[in-house]
Symmetry: none
Subunit: 291 residues, 2 copies
DNA sequence: CCCGCTTTGAAATTTTTGGTACAGCTTTAT
DNA sequence: ATAAAGCTGTACCAAAAATTTCAAAGCGGG
């Protein structure tokens, strides 16, 4: 991944690269302009000055100063450059696709991103379609209450899942993994309930205990874990493993998040008839609260 | 966000196709305009009317008549359409660049993963290395207390960040975004403090209020947001935008998670001398608790 | 805490651009 | 051959865009 590419492109540094490089010396407004431009590169720059300024939340003169600072004679000159760059890029099939553009991004960030992408690909390829669909079906069953739980890091993913499913359907809850917090709630858990547990390496005693107890009560347990499989797998009806390796002292939860988001998306789609009015109602409540 | 259909709309015929189709009924100058446009599609149309007319060897009014005939309100409207078409075309091939092996995984999961990968690539390419490094430096400064906050969905990411940084360094806290929960804590926030805010589309009033208040107190605000930039960007010292588009009714936070994890990894590395004993101490505590 | 320097945006100004009216030319039908 | 219909371009106008000016606001250094 670390390239000393034999065919180092002799290309002049693209404007985007130059901006990234000089970002540190920009003033606040210039940074805003730069961010907006980079985020929608190069389309944010193809509109009018006024439009660009509005998108960046700065004034038109600041935009002008920004393009002048980058060495252009004026805004039209700047736009012309963008168009030419775009045209050149679109004509050469090399420029697009492939891994992340050489030299872009902070090195640490880039290598991390590459690891995460590899994780995601590996995760997708290892999930059995039927298993994924079965979990979607389970989560789409409105008669079944759903409970999410996770460990000290994965707990955040559980919360993320809960905050979405709560809007799509009813009967959703978040269970903290400390036994003190779920012991008494366990009396309510039965055959109808679904427990979705997130648990990865350094598998956490309390999450395991919670899942096993729930399973013993007859609940259906869904487990999202790493490829080594949490012990919860023994009591789980469905297991979705995600790759978590990262160039870090910590594991990456991106694969788990991917699965979570994909489950949310698929469930929302499947429940669209009932989810839609529900989501609209939530929006209305939020809007009215705002006043 | 509430779309009437859970799936993406079927593509409308591109302008180029429409032109080819109607070419037969065009007048002579219209044909010339069409020909020039198609041969350098769509860049020939992105210049001025005069430029376009000159290239086609016709007069400006003829160009105007041409675009009107194609159903556009005027030349700017026509250009806007070209840009949008171009943007859509340029973004989609990214996801297909390194397609996940055909036939693997559930279809819904696979397409979602492709979108997430595209997001991650776009996110990494748009982050200025200096900006990323500056944030790492900020988070590595042990004299500065760090507070994380986020909205209803991004709050989970804030919590994820907090649960990691808490172990790497001291002086870390999680601030719930409801004003009632942070109003009184704000008295403690000053120039030394760092507030890391997560806020994406449907930017949340209370997160904005929290950030603005903190900034007014002199705190340094770091913002992780979407490419449209939360209003918090106005008061933020550093902004890290992440792409969030997904084939879903919901946005994807994978890019935000990527940035978060990369920040954690980089900070851990940078603080290794002090983080290492600290992490070991945490582990010892956990082990002893287990008995 | 205050002063000087830098940055920023509102408003005025200038330039460019898109749009329109109209007259001449070409073509076609009778 | 001639009149009618339809294109096309020149010249002009209106609109919008880019740019400059200037005063206020913010920031950093002493």
């Amino acid at each position: 991944m670390l390239d000393s590419s034999p065919t180092a492109a002799p290309e002049p540094p693209s404007l985007a690269e130059r901006i990234r490089h000089e970002m540190a010396h920009f003033t606040l407004s210039e940074k805003r302009a730069a961010h907006v431009l980079l985020s929608h590169y190069p389309f944010a720059g193809l509109d009018t000055v006024a439009e660009f300024a509005a998108r960046a939340g700065i004034s038109a003169p600041s935009v002008l100063r920004f393009v002048t600072r980058m060495g252009f004679a004026g805004f039209p000159d700047f736009q012309k450059h963008l168009r030419e760059e775009l045209e050149a890029q679109l004509l050469s099939p090399l420029a697009k696709s492939d891994p992340i553009e050489r030299g872009s991004g902070a090195p640490a960030l880039r290598s991390f991103a590459e690891a995460v992408i590899a994780n995601i690909q590996a995760t997708v390829e290892n999930i059995a379609p039927a298993e994924f669909e079965a979990v979607v079906a389970l989560l789409s069953d409105l008669r079944r209450p759903v409970h999410f739980t996770g460990g000290r890091f994965t707990g955040a993913v559980a919360r993320y899942a809960e905050s979405h499913f709560r809007i799509v359907r009813g009967g959703v809850s978040l269970m903290e993994s400390q036994p003190a917090l779920w012991r008494d709630r366990m009396i309510e858990i039965g055959r109808r309930d679904v427990v979705v547990a997130f648990d990865i390496r350094r598998y956490q005693e309390d999450v395991i205990a919670l899942s096993e107890t729930a399973a013993a009560q007859g609940a259906t347990v869904v487990l999202l874990t790493d490829p080594w499989l949490s012990p919860i797998a023994r009591v789980a009806k469905h297991v979705l493993p995600a790759h978590v390796a990262a160039p870090s002292n910590w594991d990456s939860s991106a694969g788990l998040l991917l699965l979570t988001e994909a489950l949310v998306a698929a469930t929302t789609k499947r429940l669209w008839e009932t989810a839609r009015p529900r989501m609209e109602a939530v929006e209305r409540l939020r809007d009215s609260e705002r006043n």
